[in-house]
Structure formats: structure tokens, C-alpha cells
């Protein structure tokens, strides 16, 4: 196991009003993302527990691109990773942002 943590300043808050959302599952090659609207609008944070050790640089690159693209201001992401591929991580993060931007609680 490895714990990784990233904080970014972002240009805009995430859309929608929902407080939290969960996408994905913890399984081999997959990951679970819990996203909560708990931070100031100009910040986002990602806490990662991953089964794969030694991929910090790849996570940094994936998350850098994600933050740049989606500007997820105000969101904290808690990620349980079962060794997912980077493209799966990108997809789950994007799905999480979409889900929390939907209507409802």
C-alpha cells in the first residue's frame, strides 16, 4: 500500500450543488472515488490509498491534467485504488465530477 496526497489551487469551483458522490468499485484494476464538496472554491485535494507502490509520478501527471481540464474547485477526492490503469483513473475522476454536478443530494 502507498498513501499519496495532492492539493491544487484551481481557477473555478466545480458545478452543481450536490454534497457528495461515489463512483467505481475497489477491485483489481479498478478504483473507488468518493468526492465531497467540503473545501473552499479555489482549492481541491486528492487523498489516495493505492495497492500499487511506486507510481507517484504517474499519479502526479494524471491529476495535474485532470485538475487543469475540469477545475474541480471545492472538492475533496478520497480514492481507494486497486492498481487501476491511469486511463481508468482519469475516467473515474471525470465521472465523479460529472456525478456531483448533477441535481439532487
Amino acid at each position: 500500500m502507498e498513501d499519496l496526497s495532492f492539493r491544487h489551487h484551481v481557477r473555478a469551483p466545480a458545478g452543481g450543488a450536490r454534497k457528495s458522490a461515489i463512483v467505481g468499485v475497489v477491485a483489481s484494476g479498478n478504483l473507488e472515488v468518493l468526492v465531497e464538496r467540503v473545501l473552499p472554491d479555489a482549492e481541491c485535494a486528492l487523498e489516495i490509498k493505492t495497492a500499487a507502490v511506486g507510481f507517484g509520478d504517474v499519479w502526479r501527471a494524471v491529476i495535474g491534467d485532470f485538475v487543469e481540464r475540469y477545475s474541480p474547485g471545492g472538492l475533496r477526492f478520497s480514492i481507494n485504488d486497486g492498481g487501476a490503469r491511469p486511463d481508468t483513473v482519469s475516467l473515474r475522476l471525470a465521472q465523479a465530477v460529472r456525478l456531483i454536478a448533477e441535481h439532487g443530494q
Binding site: 504517474v58 492498481g83 490503469r85 491511469p86 486511463d87 481508468t88 482519469s90 475516467l91 471525470a94
Partner: protein, 548 residues
């Protein structure tokens, strides 16, 4: 005595030596080893029919059991090294030299035996190349083939898995060789004659049907969202703009995803009838929904697929079938069809380097090539025009004179940037290079040469290598779709952006595809059971794919 018919006389002697073991041509299974000892000479070239799917397994075991003081140092010339017995022959000293094309399930062991010097390797061929050599310098002295049934005269019925048999028999029987067939049963009249009796010298009745491996079944349940996305990119980014109608699909989940998206995503794009109408393809179960939806007009097959017999029989407008109603496959003809009459090959690989060379060889596995290099190569002898072929040719050489400009076959490598166990698809140097050095090979085992590859599709986008004008552009186009692999992260971001502006690289958003729409619900079938339903109950999947 000098003469001009020595080989014929030698063949007749071999047949006479074997004749004592049977009644007419029919030999009992328990006498198979003694038959082989009588017929085969040390150092002979022997084709032990190991196809991509069908295996002459009884004859393999019989050959393995020979007295090695009588039969030894054989030169095996067979397309597939698939059964463990195929390699046990070399461990025992029955065989010494090997020329082959494909070794899927034995890929790890064959690598160990090559390193250990147990096998003297001629070459790893493509199918068509090995078949060609059967008629020039690798003609078998003895062919050991497999069929479903025979009559007492020796007419053979191969059933749907005809595969390599006509080619092997042609080369052997018409050049003074001996043909021995194992059959599942001996019947009064065969359902159709795949091999005429005068080319067959002995028939051995097997106690069990020959082994066939279901190689082309991909369970839709295992297709990932990433593969759905990649398939959407391929359809919208390549099939649609080139209008690809005649094509071959490799094995793999990415191409299975494409097959399952035709009736859904493809239909919504209005592509029905405009793409994917004529195939050189095994009977992939994943294509059933597209066939049932009226997309596919015709399919010629290299081999068959376990469980597809009844479906094929009921869809003879689509498949090639015999007077008995069942599929007639033929690997050599289908390979030729894929090489000359298809405008596109799309398939996966294990490693792609910065020039676009691709290989399925890793340092511990030598899987061979099978058909991909013939499908995935420009046919320099092609002369007939077609829209996709001419368009690709024009992209590669926009300033050439149209009437003198060759077209180009679309050769597409598709895959996710990270494969199984997070192994990167893109590498600076292919393992095949290291292997070639270790084994002192004169050629690295490259499956598809970079100069034949026209497009690479990953979840990050489509790279059109036809539009690259320099080696540097080509390298950056490849890095530009290599995702978060090390090769991808080392891209020149400025140059990749410029390539994107020119349309050399196209991202999902450039093609109007929202990554979040890449959902498994787009698949026309999401399980094997769904495929059975689409087929109206005609598809009978093998038990290992039944999980309901």
C-alpha cells in the same frame, strides 16, 4: 542407378512399408506409432498438422512414442506449435529442427527451449510465408493431418475447421510425399469431400475427436470502458472517414468492442452499409449482433470457432459453406484475401516502439506471428483501386502524380496505453531486439513493421502516421497517443499540439466524442448470454464461457 522418378519410388516404398499395419488405408489407433516408424525416415521434413485451432493430437502422441533409433532428427514444418507434445518431440530427440508460424499456448516453453538449444530454429514465419515455402524449399516428406471423417477410400471431410489441411496435403501429395490422416470416424459416405482420396495414403481412426481450441471468443462481459472508448475513436476516426468496407479484425477485446458497437454507436452515426460489410475473419461470436442487424454482407474465414457451427449453417448468405451446409474455411486463401482484397487490418499488439514497429515477442515469450503480418502489411502486388486505399495513398504522398501513386492499406494498431498488469504498450526498445541479440538471430521478430503501420489508436486518441513527414513527427505522433506511459510522458508538448492542429493526432473531443459517453451500455451484447440471444439460440458457446 540414376533416374528421374526416385522420389516416387521412395514414396511407394514408404507406403508399402506402412501397408502391413492396416486393412486397405485404415489403420487402428493402437498401430499408429508402428505405422509412423515404418513410413518416416530420419531427417524427414514432417508437417504435423498443428493449425491455429485444429490439432492432429492422436498423431502427435503417436509420433512422440516412436523408437528414436528408427525415427529421429526430424525437421518439423508446421504452422502451429500448440500442444505440449509438439515440443516434447524435441526434448525426446524425435525432432531437431523447426520452422513454424504461431506458438500461442507454448510461447513461454518454446522460448526456454530455444535459449536452451533444444530446438534448431529455421525461422518464425507468417502463415502465407510458411505455406509458400511448402511449395519451394520446405516440402514435407510426410504430412500428418486431422479431419472429422473419412470413407474407406480415404476421402476426407474436415468439417468447418478445414484450415491448413488442403494446403498441407497439396504440397505433400503432389511432390511424392505420404499423407496420413487421423479422423474422428469412418463413414460410408462423407458429407462433402474436402480432400480427395487419391491424396490420402493412410487413415487412423482416433478414439476421441481432434482437439480444437476456441481462440476467437471474447466475453463481452470483460470489455472495459477504456476499450469502448478506443473502439468509438476507431469507428469515428478511421472507419468512417475512409469508408472502410473490406477488412480484417485481429483477436482482442478492442476489436470485439468495435464489433459490438457497430449496431449501436455505428448505427447512430449512419454508417450501416458504408463500413464493415466484407470481412476476412474467423467466425467471431462478437460479430453476431452486427450480422443480425444487417451490417455484414460476406465473411471468408481462416478457420472456424467452437460453438458457431449451427449459426454459420443458418447464415449461409454471409459465410462460405459446402454442399453439406457447414462452413468451409481455408487459411491460405483467407490469408491471401486479407493481404490483397482488404483495405484495412486492425489489431492489437504487446509492444510498439517509437518508429511504430510492433511485436508480440517478449523476452520470455515467443508467440509467433500467425496471420497479423500478412493482414497488417501493404501488398506491393496490389493493383485494384478502392476509395480507402487511394485516400490513404494520397495522404502519404500528397504531391505524387495520382495515376502513378500506389494506394496504401490501412494498418491500424489499437490498444490501451497500459495492458495487462499495467505493462506499457509503448516502449523505447522492443524486447524482440534483445531476444534477437541473445539468440543470434539475423532478424528481430517484428510482427508489423513501422513503415506498414498507418494509424495507432489508444484511449488518448488517434495518430495518423500517413500524415507525418519526418521521423521526428512520427515519433511525436506516437508519443502523443501513448498516454501516461513513460514514452507518452516524454513527449514534446509543443510539437504534439502542432500535430493535433494538423489533424495528425485527434483527441476524443476533436472527433466529437465525450469520454464520459464511453459506457458499456453502448455494447450491443454485454455477455455471452446476450450473444446467444442475438443468435436466436443458434450460437452454442463452449462451457468455459457459460457463466449463467
Amino acid at each position: 542407378m540414376t533416374g528421374w522418378q526416385n522420389n516416387r519410388a521412395a514414396r511407394d516404398e514408404r507406403i508399402a512399408a506402412g501397408a502391413g499395419f492396416g486393412h486397405g488405408k485404415v489403420v487402428q489407433a493402437r498401430d499408429a506409432t508402428r505405422l509412423l516408424e515404418a513410413v518416416i525416415r530420419p531427417g524427414d521434413r514432417v508437417c504435423l498438422e498443428g493449425d491455429n485451432q485444429k490439432q492432429a493430437d492422436l498423431l502427435s502422441r503417436a509420433l512422440l512414442a516412436v523408437d528414436i533409433s528408427r525415427v529421429n532428427d526430424l525437421h518439423m514444418v508446421q504452422s502451429g506449435v500448440v500442444l505440449s507434445e509438439h515440443l516434447d518431440l524435441f526434448d525426446r530427440g524425435v525432432a531437431k529442427r523447426l520452422d513454424y508460424a504461431y506458438s500461442g499456448p507454448q510461447s513461454a516453453r518454446i522460448a526456454r527451449m530455444l535459449f536452451g538449444g533444444k530446438i534448431e530454429l529455421g525461422a518464425v514465419h507468417t502463415y502465407l510465408e510458411l505455406f509458400a515455402r511448402y511449395f519451394i524449399d520446405l516440402t514435407p516428406h510426410v504430412a500428418l493431418v486431422a479431419a472429422v471423417s473419412a470413407d474407406r477410400e480415404g476421402n476426407l471431410y474436415t468439417g468447418p475447421n478445414t484450415e491448413d489441411t488442403p494446403t498441407v496435403v497439396e504440397a505433400t501429395a503432389f511432390k511424392d510425399g505420404v499423407v496420413i490422416a487421423q479422423v474422428n470416424e469412418i463413414v460410408e459416405t462423407v458429407p462433402r469431400v474436402d480432400i480427395p482420396a487419391d491424396r490420402v495414403h493412410f487413415i487412423v481412426k482416433a478414439d476421441q475427436p481432434f482437439f480444437v481450441e476456441p481462440l476467437f471468443t471474447r466475453d463481452p462481459a470483460a470489455i472495459t470502458e477504456g476499450q469502448v472508448l478506443t473502439a468509438m475513436l476507431a469507428i469515428k476516426g478511421i472507419y468512417a472517414p475512409y469508408g472502410v468496407q473490406r477488412l480484417n479484425h485481429g483477436i482482442g477485446f478492442s476489436t470485439a468492442a468495435i464489433e459490438l458497437l457497430l449496431p449501436t454507436f455505428g448505427e447512430r452515426l449512419g454508417l450501416k452499409g458504408r463500413i464493415a460489410t466484407h470481412f476476412a475473419l474467423n467466425p467471431h461470436p462478437a460479430l453476431i449482433p452486427a450480422i443480425e442487424s444487417g451490417w455484414v454482407r460476406q465473411i471468408h474465414s481462416f478457420g472456424s470457432e467452437v460453438g458457431m457451427d449451427d449459426y454459420i449453417r443458418a447464415r449461409s448468405d454471409v459465410y462460405f459453406t459446402g454442399p453439406d451446409g457447414s462452413l468451409r474455411s481455408n487459411r491460405a486463401f483467407c490469408q491471401a484475401a486479407g493481404l490483397y482484397a482488404c483495405d484495412m487490418f486492425i489489431g492489437s499488439t504487446l509492444q510498439i516502439d517509437l518508429q511504430g514497429n510492433s511485436s508480440t515477442v517478449t523476452t520470455s515469450r515467443i508467440a509467433g506471428f500467425g496471420g497479423a503480418p500478412n493482414m497488417g502489411a501493404d501488398a506491393r502486388g496490389r493493383r485494384h483501386p478502392s476509395v480507402p486505399w487511394l485516400k490513404a495513398g494520397a495522404e502519404a504522398d500528397p504531391d505524387g502524380a495520382a495515376l502513378l501513386r500506389r494506394g496504401r492499406k490501412l494498418v491500424v494498431q489499437i490498444g490501451e496505453t497500459f495492458g495487462d498488469k499495467n505493462v506499457p504498450l509503448f516502449v523505447e526498445n522492443l524486447d524482440a531486439m534483445e531476444l534477437a541479440e541473445k539468440l543470434n538471430l539475423e532478424l528481430a521478430p517484428i510482427m508489423i513493421y513501422g513503415d506498414d503501420v498507418t494509424h495507432i489508436v489508444t484511449e488518448e486518441g488517434v495518430a495518423n502516421l500517413l500524415l507525418c513527414r519526418t521521423a521526428q513527427e512520427r515519433e511525436q505522433a506516437i508519443r502523443g497517443v501513448a498516454g501516461y506511459t513513460e514514452v507518452g510522458r516524454r513527449r514534446d508538448h509543443g510539437m504534439v499540439e502542432r500535430l493535433r492542429e494538423r489533424g495528425v493526432i485527434r483527441r476524443p473531443e476533436d472527433l466529437g466524442i465525450n469520454v464520459l459517453d464511453a459506457d458499456r451500455s453502448l455494447l450491443a451484447a454485454r455477455s455471452i448470454k446476450d450473444l446467444v440471444r442475438w443468435s436466436g439460440g443458434l450460437y452454442a458457446p463452449p462451457s468455459k464461457f457459460r457463466n449463467w
